[in-house]
Symmetry: C2
Subunit: 330 residues, 2 copies
DNA sequence: CTGAAAGCGCTTACAG
DNA sequence: CTGAAAGCGCTTACAG
């Protein structure tokens, strides 16, 4: 019962070879019944557990997947991580997490050091050369970069922005504002383009204010909005956090939502529903995305070159709540 | 430049032994200057990167820590994870995450399979026998269980509850309500006891409603509160989510916060500040807790038996915002 | 069905 | 300063 019990200890106790112990544990059918029982008894008596590090080295696999995200403290990822972990655990895989902003050198080793079998990438702003140098299956989730040689799974961001715009237009809003995400971000770009295209198609005015997905940027935009002449009555924010920041400060400035301004968010985070007023927003099925992303990666690990994993776009939908209403009559 | 380059490939190219390559990389000072340069050139030419799995097996360490949390989708953990990862990354350690509700068997192997060097435990409700069977350094963070043979790091939950009660009492509230956390949870128990003790000391009425930290439980309590006769004017919730749920539904029922009822939360999550009304709450320094917890574990890994890691209680403080105000005059 | 031996890819005493 | 050899703890062809 002391510290480390190795397979040789079990073998000695059972009076068999280590090969037999190994087989009895991994492929019971390939060992005689009596032998198997002897081995199992010895395993029990010693409390033996195989050393995963040794097994994995021998089998040249890590039994582990790595999640790489641009900011681990972003609560948006929580549910995605949970779903990935659940799926991985069911497949006998361990989950590692790392911030993708750890620096070029560390990032480069990740794909080569034999500690992960595959990577789920939630960041589209890493140097493509780096990402493409990894000799591991990679799947892009939520965010993507066309230069990466890896399949992606994400909702239809452009169409989602269109839904938001049409929802506002249908409520009679003719003067819209988009609070954008960071310029370099593919999600921000796609949502912005979707906003502009849909606004043009609907024949409504479409202004844009810069932002970066954070509550602070939404709050800042609220003050710019309040200070502007001919204030837009419909605001589409690039993220829920941004929307909550906007609403929060707009209300503190004495405006009514949705009485004077309607606000649409993006993501449908946990608090969207409980906020006052409850937030109309684009739903991102994060649990589903995480689960499906993990499944696809696991499929890739199984080596299904015969069954190549394709990029997928998940249809988006809008959840209508209280933060949007009829355009105020002038 | 093909797939897997091993140390022997580098050794062959440089015309030295694998031992020398290993030393040139890990302890450059113990190798001649010329040899070192030859090796480095060969490393560069081949793009060699050491196989961490092999190195770790040989050195009998995993260079990895495991975070175990009761529910990965709980956004409360995000910032803690980020802080741990940062600290671990600086120390050259990988971070694994796992839900601690994965089942007894998987949980048992975690502490024995050689894939982690140490564990950060955010769950106090695992069977102590299981936890104590792990042959790894463990540190308890935020939550704890006195039966675990492991140091813990957490804020002073009882004192924190006392701060909330005294804050409400100072505002003139004589009739308080606590919406508790799940009965089996040590945090819930400690906060409840702190609430009751402080209320008694302050000589104010102290009712309790069951809850489970979720927004739903807070929302449910709101309806019970509204339906009660002689409604408490000061409410202390066991978590921010619970508080937001409570406020949200109480306002939808037409009550004013803090005009008719003051509400205090617990945790100081990101949204506490942006909520309408902004939430008065007990601050949990999650980034600091994560960082310090990781550092302590890393110290334990270094084998500082000479410098035993003690359990620590971090002083709590209350952040006063808008959700609390003077008790309504009857 | 079982065992002896090789090998996964490294590092590290041990010699020299 | 450098190399040959052993060994981390397993699994897996290969024989029998």
């Amino acid at each position: 019962m002391s510290d480390k019990i190795r397979i040789s200890d079990v073998a000695a106790l059972a009076g068999v070879s280590t090969a037999t112990v190994s087989r009895a544990l991994a492929a019971p059918g390939r060992v005689g019944k009596e032998t198997r029982e002897k081995v199992l008894k010895a395993v029990h008596a010693t409390g033996y557990q195989v050393n995963a590090a040794a097994r994995d080295l021998r089998q040249r696999r890590a039994r582990s997947i790595l999640i790489l995200a641009p900011n681990l403290s972003n609560t948006f990822f929580s549910r995605i991580f949970a779903a990935i972990q659940e799926e991985a655990s069911d497949a006998g895989l361990t989950v590692q997490i790392s911030d993708s902003r750890i620096g070029r050198e560390k990032l480069a080793t990740l794909g080569h050091d034999g500690r992960a079998d595959g990577i789920i990438l939630l960041d589209g702003e890493i140097d493509p050369e780096l990402v493409n140098s990894w000799r591991l299956p990679v799947i892009q989730l939520c965010e993507w970069n066309p230069a990466y040689h890896a399949p992606s799974l994400a909702i239809d961001n452009a169409a989602a922005a269109g839904l938001a715009v049409r929802h506002l237009a249908d409520l009679g809003h003719r003067n819209l504002l988009h609070i954008a995400g960071p310029a370099g971000n593919i999600l921000a770009q796609t949502r912005l383009a979707g906003f502009q295209d849909a606004a043009q198609a609907a024949g409504v005015a479409a202004a844009v204010l810069p932002g970066d997905f954070t509550m602070e940027s939404g709050a800042g935009a609220a003050h710019q909005w309040a200070a502007s002449t001919n204030r837009p009555t419909g605001v589409f924010c690039a993220s829920d956090e941004c929307a909550l920041g906007f609403i929060s400060d707009v209300m503190r400035l004495g405006f009514d939502v949705p009485g004077q301004v309607s606000v649409v968010g993006f993501d449908d985070i946990e608090f969207a529903d409980r906020f006052n007023p409850a937030l109309t927003t684009v739903h991102q099925p994060r649990a589903t995305l995480g689960r499906d992303g993990a499944r696809q990666l696991i499929k890739m690990l199984a080596g299904g070159v015969t069954d190549p994993v394709l990029s997928q776009v998940v249809p988006a939908h809008l959840v209508t709540r209280v933060s949007t209403g009829k355009a105020p009559t002038v």
